[in-house]
């Protein structure tokens, strides 16, 4: 059959009003799928970054290590006393160079001259605590705060000053982490560790350090619950999306069947004129295929746009104190999980095309004689 005639038939099929339903369904499903995947992936990566940059570094080495992007720290549990309540938390002693530009960004700290935790001259150690913690303990910058450390079976109180407030954007960390000068925890013989930030593959970097004889752990081992949750969340979300894709394919199959039923008279006519079943199926399939590719492409693009647009909106809700968002990380860079999106969309696409092809098999059952006898 002549290609341009094939194109003409396809064009007529594309004008079928039912195709709008098909396009809308595919655009909505693929945009929501890609948006959700991007959102969950970006949030998970954002939380991972928070833990890696603020919590424990990508890697933690027991003892001293003099490498690039290595930061000596000492950690201890402690109680922080406020005027109204007491909070158990982790105190991390850090050096002057700890607050790099990236960490300042993760902690929403303004660029300041000198060290954030430098002695104010009054002899009291300065602390960096979160805005959430300060608010719950009714503390402000310049206020005194009492830290009590467990040392050798007893408790050592240390009067400190709130030097700076930070906001990591992630409540889990904000509520449980306080920074203090490295020298304070050295006083209590808290073990020395070195946090290492890694550009690239964390597991490979860990293996290299292990081979060099260091005792190393990765952030996802130190925070295994969080890392497992993030991984599980992403996998569950991806699994759910495969199920949604399956449902969408079912509806596309139903749509294809409806289209064949609606066009029964036209199909019978062109069969009467001598068009073969496989040629008719090809015409319908190509029309559905082309429009599906376009719809999925638009859907994914909309999903990506929606991801970028949603963050400021969610941030606005977070700042408005909307309780439902308080334990979510709402400030993170958008990262597009290309492989996962491609997998889900390819699954949706292949399943849709298979179900459409199976539905179009009904064309075989339409006999030209039905046209005449009708």
């Amino acid at each position: 059959m002549h290609d341009s005639y094939m194109g003409m038939l396809q064009e007529r099929i594309r004008k079928d009003p039912h195709l709008k339903d098909h396009v809308i369904l595919l655009v909505v499903v693929s945009s929501l799928l890609s948006f959700s995947l991007i959102f969950v992936h970006s949030m998970a990566a954002g939380i991972a970054d928070k833990y890696a940059y603020i919590g424990s570094g990508h890697l933690t080495i027991s003892g001293a290590y003099a490498g690039e992007n290595a930061f000596p720290v000492r950690k201890s549990s402690a109680l922080l006393y406020g005027s109204k309540k007491t909070v158990p938390l982790l105190v991390k002693g850090v050096g002057d160079d700890y607050f790099t530009a990236q960490r300042r960004k993760e902690l929403s700290l303004a660029e300041q001259d000198g060290s954030i935790l430098a002695d104010d001259g009054g002899g009291k150690p300065r602390l960096a605590i979160s805005e959430r913690l300060a608010s719950s303990l009714s503390l402000a910058v310049g206020d005194n705060a009492l830290l009590v450390f467990p040392v050798d079976g007893s408790f050592k109180p240390v009067l400190c000053t709130v030097g700076v407030l930070f906001a990591s954007g992630y409540a889990e960390l904000d509520d449980s982490l306080v920074f203090c000068p490295l020298s304070l925890l050295q006083r209590f013989d808290a073990p020395l560790e070195t946090e290492v930030l890694v550009d690239g593959n964390v597991s490979e970097a860990k293996q290299r350090l292990l081979q060099e004889g260091y005792s190393v752990s990765a952030w996802y081992e130190d925070n295994s619950d969080i890392a497992d949750n993030l991984r599980t969340s992403q996998n569950v979300v991806t699994g759910v999306f495969f199920a949604i894709a399956f449902l969408a394919a079912y509806f596309i199959s139903e749509f294809s069947s409806t289209m064949v039923t609606d066009k029964k008279r036209e199909i019978a006519t062109i069969k009467l004129m001598g068009m073969k079943d496989k040629e008719i199926r090809r015409v319908f399939f190509r029309a559905i295929f082309r429009i599906s590719v376009g719809a999925v492409f638009i859907g994914v693009a909309l999903g990506i746009i929606l991801s970028y647009v949603s963050l400021p909106i969610l941030g606005f809700f977070a700042k408005s104190g909307f309780a439902a968002f308080s334990y979510y990380l709402l400030s993170f860079p958008i990262r597009i999980p290309v492989v996962r999106i491609l997998l889900v969309i390819a699954f949706l696409f292949v399943l849709s095309m298979i179900s459409a092809a199976v539905s179009l098999d009904r064309i075989k059952k339409i006999e030209p004689i039905s046209l005449i006898q009708a």
Binding site: H2, R12, I270, L272, M273, G274, I369, I372
Partner: protein
């Protein structure tokens, strides 16, 4: 009759349809006849006697229970659906009581369709379709869609479409059945003149004896048996 002249040979064909009571209604019983190239033959009979069924069986739209139908040297009963489609496309033309045009297409596109389905070039098919539409008096209506044409005009488009691939046989089942007298006369004249011009065989099913008598031969189907009228 010269054997080489025969375009359609029907031998001992039987056709029945299932009935509600589990039995079968026999419509055609041991039908034997043949059509020669270029002749026009009408089959007449009362409504419901099986004229349309006979035409549909001969056109490979229905398969008979038994018997043999040889068309242009091929046994239609032994052919696959794809081959039957090819034969319908290249060697047969159809005109029914309803024009059966594609609603989304113009008159020109409807007429071009069999030519393009047969693998013809677009420009050739267009030229041929325009010529056929002109010959049925619709040269100026080529770009009109189905819904912009009258019943008579649609049927004229159907006649033009039937002749697009210069078929060896044109099957016409009550082609004027739904038309007024004036349009019926136009279609009758067009059908006879154009089929004759293209040297095709015309196999006509009608209950209109005046129309039928314009054919070279008239067969009567009565009580499942076909005989000369």
């Amino acid at each position: 009759m010269n054997g080489s002249d025969v375009i359609l040979q029907v031998h001992n064909v039987c056709k029945s349809f299932p009935e509600g009571n589990g039995g079968r209604l026999v419509v055609l019983d041991s039908i034997d006849f043949s059509l020669r190239e270029g002749e026009s033959v009408a089959v007449v009979g009362n409504s419901g006697c099986g004229k349309s069924t006979l035409l549909e069986v001969c056109a490979s739209l229905l398969r008979p229970e038994s018997g043999e139908i040889l068309f242009d040297g091929e046994d239609l009963g032994s052919l696959e659906d794809d081959r039957l489609s090819e034969i319908r496309c290249r060697k047969m033309g159809f005109v029914f009581q309803s024009s059966l045009l594609l609603g989304d297409f113009t008159a020109l596109e409807n007429v071009m369709m069999p030519g393009l389905l047969a693998g013809g070039e677009w420009s050739d098919a267009k030229k041929r379709a325009e010529s056929l539409l002109a010959s049925v008096g619709l040269g100026d209506r080529a770009e009109h869609r189905n819904d912009a044409l009258s019943g008579g005009e649609r049927q004229r488009v159907a006649v033009a479409r039937a002749l697009m691939n210069t078929p060896k046989i044109v099957f016409a089942d009550e082609p004027t059945g739904s038309l007024d007298e004036e349009n019926a006369a136009i279609i009758e004249n067009l059908l006879f003149s154009l089929v004759k011009d293209s040297h095709a065989t015309l196999f006509l099913a009608t209950h209109n004896m005046v129309f039928a008598r314009r054919c070279d031969r008239v067969l009567r189907l009565h009580d499942r048996i076909l005989c000369d009228a």
